[in-house]
């Protein structure tokens, strides 16, 4: 715990409080096949010396947290002052990278999690009422979306929804709109990502609920039947209360999972329309110039986000546990 959780968090927090040294420039002449040109370059020796004096970089306190790439305090203040309506304010906030990522991440998390719990539950109920010879076969197929690697799964769907792909061109026929493209519109991209999210994670909920169904108290069920309870009433008053602790468990795991949504955004090439907290950290870390401080700051904010998000569920679990003890 100390080595794998505590120390990395300390290092990320430290990094987020620092930025790189001021770069010392020199003007040099660069020559290549295409001729010579004067340009700026970094004086590595001078910069090296600065680095040796202060290996961590320049300490800036919480500046990284409040700059435009993160909480953007001054941009938010200006937006609040200059906008006449809430819609206008929202547009300006949505234009800031971190808020855009948070908005997508939250919408994704709170749409996908309930839907996948409902879908997983319906599949579990359906499979449970099948004939026992069919069960094994159907269970295997229901689990496939979870077995498929997320990136591969999203790529398959990505090709199918291409405007020349099978789903894409069918939709064009269906709506009689040859320019309809699921990838070109922000809202359709969001819907696609969420459908993919539900498709990918529902089997997880299904497996847990199906296991739970095997422990249903048969006596209660039979007495409910004798009392004339319909199938719906039995599900409502016997099955759901019995599975409730499992719902909490699935919600907890899936909230955490969906909060760090990442692979579908890469797989669907969707960064033009949707960014998540994980995807902006990834883009800060990639490429030719890596922005380590910016990535660390976003990471710390993500950790805080997870804590806030999970606190109600954790509190509930803790209270249940206390009550039992």
């Amino acid at each position: 715990m100390l080595l794998f959780i505590f120390l990395p968090i300390i290092s990320v927090v430290t990094q987020s409080l620092h930025i790189d040294h001021e770069q010392v420039f020199v003007e040099v002449e660069n020559c290549d096949f295409f001729g010579c040109k004067k340009a700026m370059a970094v004086d590595t020796e001078a910069t090296e010396q600065l680095r040796a004096e202060q290996p961590l970089g320049r300490f800036v306190g919480l500046d990284n947290y409040f700059n435009r790439s993160h909480l953007a305090s001054s941009e938010i203040a200006t937006a609040w002052k200059n906008s006449d309506s809430f819609g206008e304010f929202y547009d300006q906030v949505y234009n800031l990278p971190l808020y855009r990522a948070i908005i997508f991440t939250l919408v994704y998390t709170f749409t996908v999690t309930p839907l996948l719990i409902i879908l997983g539950f319906l599949i579990a109920i359906g499979v449970n009422s099948l004939h026992r010879h069919l069960k094994g076969f159907v269970i295997f197929f229901s689990l496939l979306p979870m077995i498929v690697t997320p990136l591969v799964g999203s790529l398959i769907l990505f090709w199918m929804i291409d405007s020349r792909g099978i789903i894409g061109s069918s939709l064009q026929h269906l709506f009689n709109d040859p320019n309809l493209s699921l990838k070109a519109s922000t809202s359709l991209t969001w819907i696609t990502l969420m459908v993919y999210g539900v498709w990918h994670s529902a089997p997880f909920a299904f497996v847990i609920f199906y296991a739970g169904l095997q422990t249903l108290p048969q006596d209660t069920l039979e007495s409910a039947m004798i009392d004339g309870a319909s199938r719906w009433e039995r599900i409502r008053y016997v099955v759901i209360p019995h599975l409730m602790p499992l719902v909490t468990f699935v919600a907890l795991i899936q909230l955490m999972d969906n909060f760090r949504v990442f692979e579908p955004i890469v797989g669907f090439n969707a960064s033009a329309h949707a960014t998540s907290l994980s995807s902006i950290i990834f883009s800060d870390l990639g490429g030719e110039s890596r922005l380590l401080s910016s990535a660390s700051t976003t990471s710390v904010l993500t950790i805080l986000g997870v804590i806030v998000l999970l606190s109600p569920v954790l509190y509930r679990t803790w209270r249940d546990w206390e009550r039992k003890v």
Partner: protein
């Protein structure tokens, strides 16, 4: 035995044989580990270096699309993981910024090498890289489609718009124009091209302050927007590979493509019938009445890590010099790139890049903070193309995002 397997084994055997025949390349000791991009020309160079392995000298090559993400961390350690980085004029900059590569002048003086002076790439008077090929984005067009539409090959973006209109009107194609406008690096590069075409300068003179939110920037964005009307509506997700696939399928008649990737379109592999024969690699386009083409020139070359032993550095230098020796040139290799190596005879695949050089295109700038601006453009431009923002607002966002990043990196 399965014939494919048999061929592979024979090929492997031949390679092993040739490796031992070349073994040494004059290397007495040391290890070589190469990081670089993965297109065919670089594969050839990598294989040439690996052929020097033997007699206790180990030569490894990691040629991957992710080279940009790997090269800085891979050369930072002491000793560095990689001894050689194959770079382009954009990717040498982060290595220079952090002082991760060594000047090659001593090695050149000691070991020489069969290359010409033009191949030496010098920064501040020191040779930091040896170049071996040039690259550029330029126009590719379908002769047959333009003939059917009764139009001349376009030389400006304005003519491309007119040509695309005619092709659409005549019902020849739905989306006649193609270019890699995927969000991220690709669309930012297209903006850079267009911005230079309009005569823009990315930074205020002598400083790291951005200089794109101006008339040239707005014109560049508006021209790109007009072009997207003639592109597949999924354009924000389409990279070079997908655009090339569209070309091979016959869905595109005019395309902006890299010289290094346009060559394979001529040999017809994977193309629908009749497309390769009608594919013409042409000069880059100008825009807005300007004379500088709206594109950038690129070179690829090798650099040697600083944080390695002198023995490894010498081994790396010798292996790479062997890999770019004029003796590698043959008909197959000549087709892979526009080589800057002596003895290279231009092939039809090089027509576009040579036309770009002759048209006086500007090289992609080797400036320490250029890649930060490139990243900011890649993240912010899609808002303009999905219709959420005006051009001015988008460019202001790009400058703000760039300034935040540049402050963090200590450039501002």
């Amino acid at each position: 035995m399965n014939p494919v397997l048999k061929k592979t084994l024979v090929a492997a055997g031949l390679m092993a044989a040739s490796a031992s025949a070349y073994a040494g390349c004059g290397i007495s000791a040391g290890n070589v580990n190469i990081i670089g991009n993965e297109f065919p020309a670089i594969q050839t160079i990598g294989a040439g270096a690996v052929a020097c392995a033997g007699d206790g000298v180990e030569v490894k090559a990691n040629l991957t699309k992710e080279h940009k993400d790997l090269q800085v961390p891979g050369l930072t350690g002491n000793p560095a993981e990689y001894t050689v980085a194959i770079v382009a004029n954009s990717s040498i900059v982060p290595l220079m910024n952090d002082g991760l590569i060594r000047p090659l002048d001593d090695l050149i003086a000691k070991h020489g090498g069969n290359f010409n002076d033009k191949q030496k790439i010098s920064i501040g008077g020191k040779t930091m890289a040896i170049g071996f090929m040039a690259n550029a984005q330029h126009l590719v067009y379908r002769k047959d489609i333009l003939e059917q539409a009764g139009i001349e090959a376009p030389t400006t973006y304005e003519e491309v718009l007119a040509a695309a209109d005619v092709i659409k009107e005549k019902g020849l194609m739905k989306y006649p124009f193609g270019a890699a406008y995927a969000a991220g690096w690709g669309i930012a590069q297209e903006f850079n091209n267009m911005f230079l075409g309009f005569g823009g300068e990315f930074f205020k003179e002598g400083s790291a302050m951005p200089n794109i939110n101006n008339e040239m920037g707005v014109n560049a964005l508006n021209m790109m927007k007009s072009l997207t009307d003639h592109m597949n509506p999924d354009f924000l997700t389409l990279n070079n590979n997908e655009i090339n696939a569209e070309w091979k399928a016959g869905n595109v008649a005019l395309m902006q493509m890299w010289g290094s990737r346009a060559g394979p379109l001529l040999d017809g592999e994977g193309s629908a019938p009749g497309i390769a024969d009608n594919t013409i690699l042409a000069a880059p386009l100008t825009v807005g009445g300007g004379s500088i083409p709206a594109t950038t020139l690129w070179w690829d070359g090798f650099t040697i890590a600083k944080n390695i032993s002198d023995e490894d550095a010498e081994a790396s230098y010798l292996a790479m010099v062997n890999a770019i020796d004029p003796s590698i040139m043959n008909a197959e290799v000549a087709k892979q790139a526009v080589w800057m190596i002596d003895g290279y005879e231009p092939t039809p695949a090089s027509a576009g890049v040579f036309a770009t050089i002759n048209a006086g295109a500007k090289p992609y700038p080797m400036i320490p903070y250029e890649s930060l601006l490139h990243t900011a453009l890649g993240n912010e431009l899609p808002d303009f193309f999905s219709g959420k923002e005006s051009a001015e607002k988008t460019l202001a966002d790009v400058e703000a995002a760039y300034e935040t990043a540049a402050k963090e990196k200590g450039f501002l």
